[in-house]
Structures are given as C-alpha cells and as structure tokens.
Symmetry: C2
Subunit: 230 residues, 2 copies
Amino acid sequence: MTLYNEYDRLLVAVDCIIFGFHGDQLKLLLIKRDFEPEKGKWSLMGGFAKKSESLDDAASRILMSLTGLQEVFLEQLYCFNQVDRDPVERTISVTYYSLINIEDHDEELSKQHDASWFDLGEMPDLIFDHNEIVDRAHQRLKYKAEHYPVGFELLPPKFTMPELQSLYEAIFETEMDKRNFIKRIDSLGILVKLNEKKRTTGKKGAFLYQFDEDKYKQQMKTGNKFQIKP
Amino acid sequence: MTLYNEYDRLLVAVDCIIFGFHGDQLKLLLIKRDFEPEKGKWSLMGGFAKKSESLDDAASRILMSLTGLQEVFLEQLYCFNQVDRDPVERTISVTYYSLINIEDHDEELSKQHDASWFDLGEMPDLIFDHNEIVDRAHQRLKYKAEHYPVGFELLPPKFTMPELQSLYEAIFETEMDKRNFIKRIDSLGILVKLNEKKRTTGKKGAFLYQFDEDKYKQQMKTGNKFQIKP
C-alpha cells in the first residue's frame, strides 16, 4: 500500500500502574530503571509493544513478568503522546492500571527484581512523565471505585468492615463517617457476613465479610446501583 | 540506544468520532473511504500520526481538515490495539471524540468532501473496528454528559428547554420526565434565561436560555455538583 508507506512508524511503550493496599495505605509498585537515560531512577514497570502482540496482551505480559500474577484486574488508562516525553526517541506510551491484593501475593511479589511498593502519598520523582501518569491513574481509580466494585480487588477475599472503610478512605483521600459507610454498604446487598472474626491486638475482633459477585449481579439486575461516594 | 533499537515500530492511526445534534437526533460525521482496502465504505475521519507531532495535535489537525473547525471539544477516548484490526499492516488506533454545534457550523461542514451526518441509531457498516469505536464513544459521552456540562457543546449558544431535554434524551437513549428535568436544571443554577423566545410553528414559542460558564464555576466552588441522571 503506497499510502500506508508514506507514514512514520513509532515506538510504542506499554506502561503499567500497579496499585496495592496495605496498612491503611494505597500503594504503587515501582521498579528501578536499569538502563539509560535516567538509569537508577524509579519508574513504572513497562516495555515496548511488539508487532505480533496486542497492547492488551503486552500489558498482561509485563505485569506477569514483574509480579508473577495473571488474571488480575487490568484496564487501559490513557495514551500519553507528547512528542518529547522520551528524550531518546519519539515514543508514545499506552498505559494500563492494575489492582492487586498484596496480602495474598506477597510471596510472588517479593521474589521479583528491583521493585518496591511506595505509598501513593510519598511518590519519588519518577522518570519522564510517569508522575503525571500516576496522577491520572489515581483519578481513574477514584471514579471506578465510586461506581464499580473494583475496590475488592485490592483486599484479601475476607476482610473486616473497618478494613473496607480504610480502603475507600485511602482511595478517596478523605475520612468517611463510619455509620453512613456501613449503612451504604449494607444497602448495596453485595457482601456476605461470615461467622468468623479477625482478632486484632487488644480488641474483641471484627467480623469478616466476603464480596459476593453473584449477589452484586443480582442487585444490579433489580435496579440497585453500585455507588460509594467520597 | 541499543535497547531501544531492538523493538518494533508501529503505524499509529488517529481516528476522530465527531458528534453533532440536530432535530432531536444525536449524529455522527462519517466519510467515504477513498482508498483500499474497504474503499467506498463509511469510516471515521482519521489519519496517521507523524513523528514530529503529538497525537493530540494530530487529532486537532484531522478534525480541522474535515470540518474547518478549531477550538471545539476534543478528548482522547481509547487506544484500539488488536493485532489484526487493519488487514494491511499492524496499526493501533488512538481515538478522539469531538462535540460540535452543527447549527452554527453548517456552512463550514457542508463545504467538505465526501462527508455525511448519520443518526447514531442508524449507523452503516463501518470499516475495520469502527462500529466498536463508535459504541465506546457513545458510552463515554453518556458518562460525560451525566457528570459534566459538555452537552452544551452540541447546542447553539441560545437554546430552549425542550431542545436541551431532547439533547439529553438522545444521548441517554431514554425519555425523561419534563418537570423533573426542568427542576434538575434549575437546581444547577448554570443557565441564564433570556428575555427572548424562539418561535415555532403553531406555538406560543419557548424562552431561550444560555449556558453560563462563570455561573457553572461558581456553583462548583460552592459545592453544588453537576449531575443529570438518565
């Protein structure tokens, strides 16, 4: 095709924003860049797209190579496209964000190379436009968590109500009223209360809950709307 | 950079989904593709990215070349990335959607090449994955129109309340209760009622309104939230 041949081909990066939640903090998995430019600086985990692979598959592959995880929440975020964003060569970055349950996957994650979890509130200075990418990912997560039950991806399968509340407080960056929060969660009808408590030091312990996918689908069918406002 | 050199370069298309509103219908501007493959089929307006130009700028350029319009609402939608979406060569498509006031720009638009407005409910069979792209753009528009005052981009500066309601009905694909709609719009406090009516055949005419950007900003500052639910 002559017409096709007239045009430029571009380097396409696929970068992953990997969110976790631990100890009341929303966290991000970063790696130390091991090649120039900006070698030694913290960076999102990324790679370059191949002709033979969809970008969705590339994102899964990159996530798998860093975390050992498959079948976790992964969604395209945005294509960052400023001409000079990479000083070596014009590169566009198609970004994907992922939500990971740290607690269950601690072993897989800790095995991996030069990677560390950072509190979202204490991001180091990242390479290129990666700080901007993180900001946009956090905005998207706020929206998603308000309208869809994606928050549970960040928790272990069994969690207490205070844990669930502190997750939402971390995502929304705001304190929430405990009574209203519990009332709201109850009205959604998507959790199962277990006959089991989580013991914590010096407390009676709190009941454990599970998110129930079937209940959620059932509720949405009957017109109930998932929404947890900040 | 050795490392950079190891990777593939890809053809990057920029495709624009151009929405308009006329006669109670949400519309889309399409062009007849004038080269192979799929020559003669309807298509979104698009072009290929250049090394020297950001994709945002490319989208503006493409929109300008088709419609003659600048400084209209234009926002990135999604990067479509399946390996075989273009049969000629692996091409990813970064898509942008635009909202245009047809009425004010009818002259610019009608001058242009093989382009036509189609009702969103009566889309022809488009090239490649463009029907899927249109669906995703419509989903995004629904969300945006619910939470941001972007609907006004599709109307002339002066409009009647029935026109505003039929715009939202077209976007949401649902009928809305007239009284509740007017009540909701009033409570937002973002319109100015003009001392001027639009005459329509056989009717007394309806008062004209204008959207007031400053009022909107003021309202958002005081904690009022823009939301128009379907």
